[in-house]
């Protein structure tokens, strides 16, 4: 098979929170091959977001190695697009100017006219058409998420790191956006690492789902989702295979919720 895009080997990450050492990740091994869509699920605070930060080159592992296309991750990793859980739109830029920002940078500068066209297309795609001149402070939380998603997708990075991108969206819009993400990543042959709380979302979208344990996070189970790609995000939920995967993964996951039983 192809060389892995992302490769974590024996990765641990410790955080020093005011003198108290907290272990966020412990012995994580994960391989993401080209054009695979890998979802990370697990309880809150299990270190899923830390994995993304490591791959993005914003954090260094305390032990083990994080490699991107065979080499240690650069700081920061400019070959990925990263949509963090936190809002990182620039408040003084309009929605259109925020989305067009990556195309203003010298490394992929486009002319004004072409940039404008691409921004218009992108806003159409994420359902923000007509809101280009608004400022982030004038939008709802869900709309800001969509703007951040558009800003990342517009420059089509080869790998996407997504941290609960659809968490704040209403159910209908969530489906539309999931479908668009599936279509786009398939079309552009992107590799995706996707953090979510939503098991249904993970199974519907991903080729592989990694279930994390409670903190310190380890991968409890890595499950291949053998549903044919590309999928219809809505109808795939009603197939018997889907229900099987859901049962299987939910049984793994539910043991990580609830109290007691921690090693």
């Amino acid at each position: 098979m192809d060389e892995p895009v992302i490769e974590l080997t024996g990765v641990a990450k410790l955080f020093d929170a005011r003198g108290v050492i907290a272990k966020a990740l412990d012995e994580v091994d994960l391989v993401v091959r080209p054009q695979r869509f890998v979802a990370l699920v697990g309880p809150s605070g299990c270190g899923k977001s830390t994995v993304l930060n490591l791959v993005a080159g914003l954090l260094d592992p305390s032990a083990g190695s994080v490699r991107y296309r065979g080499n240690p991750v650069e700081r920061p990793n400019r070959r990925v697009g990263y949509m963090t859980q936190k809002d990182t739109l620039l408040p003084w830029r309009s929605v259109a100017d925020n989305i067009g920002l990556p195309l203003e940078l010298a490394c992929r500068a486009l002319g004004r006219a072409e940039r404008h066209d691409r921004v218009e297309q992108m806003m159409e795609l994420v359902g923000l058409a007509g809101f280009g001149r608004h400022y982030p402070s004038e939008l709802s939380g869900g709309m800001r998420r969509r703007a951040a998603l558009a800003r990342m997708l517009i420059y089509e990075p080869e790998t996407l790191l997504l941290d609960e991108p659809f968490g704040a969206l209403d159910a209908q819009l969530k489906l539309v956006m999931q479908q668009e993400l599936a279509r786009l990543t398939h079309l552009r042959q992107m590799t995706v690492l996707f953090v979510t709380h939503d098991l249904t979302e993970a199974i519907a979208l991903a080729d592989e789902v990694a279930v994390f344990t409670r903190r310190p996070g380890r991968i409890r189970r890595l499950c291949k989702i053998d549903l044919p790609q590309p999928r219809d995000i809505v109808s795939v939920r009603f197939t018997p295979d889907f229900a099987g995967y859901h049962d299987l993964l939910w049984n793994e996951l539910k043991e990580e919720f609830g109290t007691g039983g921690d090693a």
Partner: protein, 269 residues
């Protein structure tokens, strides 16, 4: 961060008193008050207090007219505005530049902050004799004084503004592929701009006070010099005439600044 809190408080106050302007009744009331005070002053002079101590509005008006015609007013007004403006611009820009450097280079900031804080606390007027020795009694010593005052105001404000930029925003731009200069131009500069503008705004009146104060203490030109030299000759009318011009300047400047306030940025929601 108390400096920034103070700046915010000041901005909040200046932004609050915007409405209730279009009412002509307010203007009429204001004019009436001024007229009544002037009339009282005119009548009371030499009745309630000696003319030598309090002068009177008619004399002051005559004096202002004479100064305007013989060029005295122009000379001194220009000197004050020149010292004020030149010090404001050079000191302000230097403060912004150094503020940016310290905001970005944390290590330099840690090393230097002690010295900067010590100098900031020093009453700058006390440095005037030094500046006069170094730059002479003319405009340059006043420019240096004003520049020193505004330098620290814009320095602190710019530095705090740069520090206040969310590190996650910087990280997201770097991942997007932004170079160092692009992070400066697309993130740090626009994010810090409101801080800089607030510092520049509060500095306007602070530096005017500094300019005139410096001129009163030691100078050979300027409105402050006019006040000091008139007072030395027990020329109360001259003191009041020069003070009147200062009141007018202050009123004009404040009107201009509050007018600009209306165009405050929409993105701050």
């Amino acid at each position: 961060m108390s400096a920034s809190a103070r700046l915010d408080a000041i901005t909040a106050v200046t932004q609050e008193r915007r409405p209730a302007r279009a009412v002509p009744l307010v203007a009429v009331g204001r004019v009436l008050i001024v007229l009544a005070l002037l009339l009282f002053w005119q009548v009371a002079s030499d009745r309630l207090a000696a003319q030598l101590w309090v002068s009177d509005p008619a004399d002051i008006a005559v004096r202002l007219w004479r100064w305007t015609i013989d060029g005295t007013l122009g000379l001194h007004l220009l000197a004050t505005i020149e010292a004020w403006g030149a010090g404001y611009v050079t000191g302000g820009l230097c403060g912004i530049a150094v503020g940016f450097l310290l905001g970005i280079a944390r290590f330099a900031d840690r090393v230097l902050s002690l010295f900067i804080a010590a100098l900031y606390g020093l009453p700058k007027l006390a440095l005037l004799p030094l500046f006069v020795i170094g730059f002479g009694i003319g405009l340059q010593s006043k420019i240096a004084l004003v520049a020193t005052v505004i330098f620290f105001i814009t320095l602190y404000s710019t530095r705090d503004g740069v520090r206040d930029v969310d590190p996650d925003l910087i990280a997201s731009l770097r991942i997007m592929g932004a170079s160092r200069s692009e992070i400066l131009s697309k993130l740090l500069l626009p994010a810090t701009l409101p801080w800089i503008l607030t510092a520049m705004r509060i500095s306007v009146s602070i530096t005017l006070v500094t300019t005139v104060g410096g001129e009163v203490l030691s100078s050979n030109r300027g409105l402050g010099f006019l006040i000091a030299s008139s007072s030395a000759r027990f020329d109360t009318t001259g003191v009041f005439a020069a003070a009147t011009v200062l009141v007018a300047i202050s009123a004009v400047v404040n009107a201009l600044l509050t007018g600009r306030e209306a165009g405050a940025s929409r993105w701050r929601g």
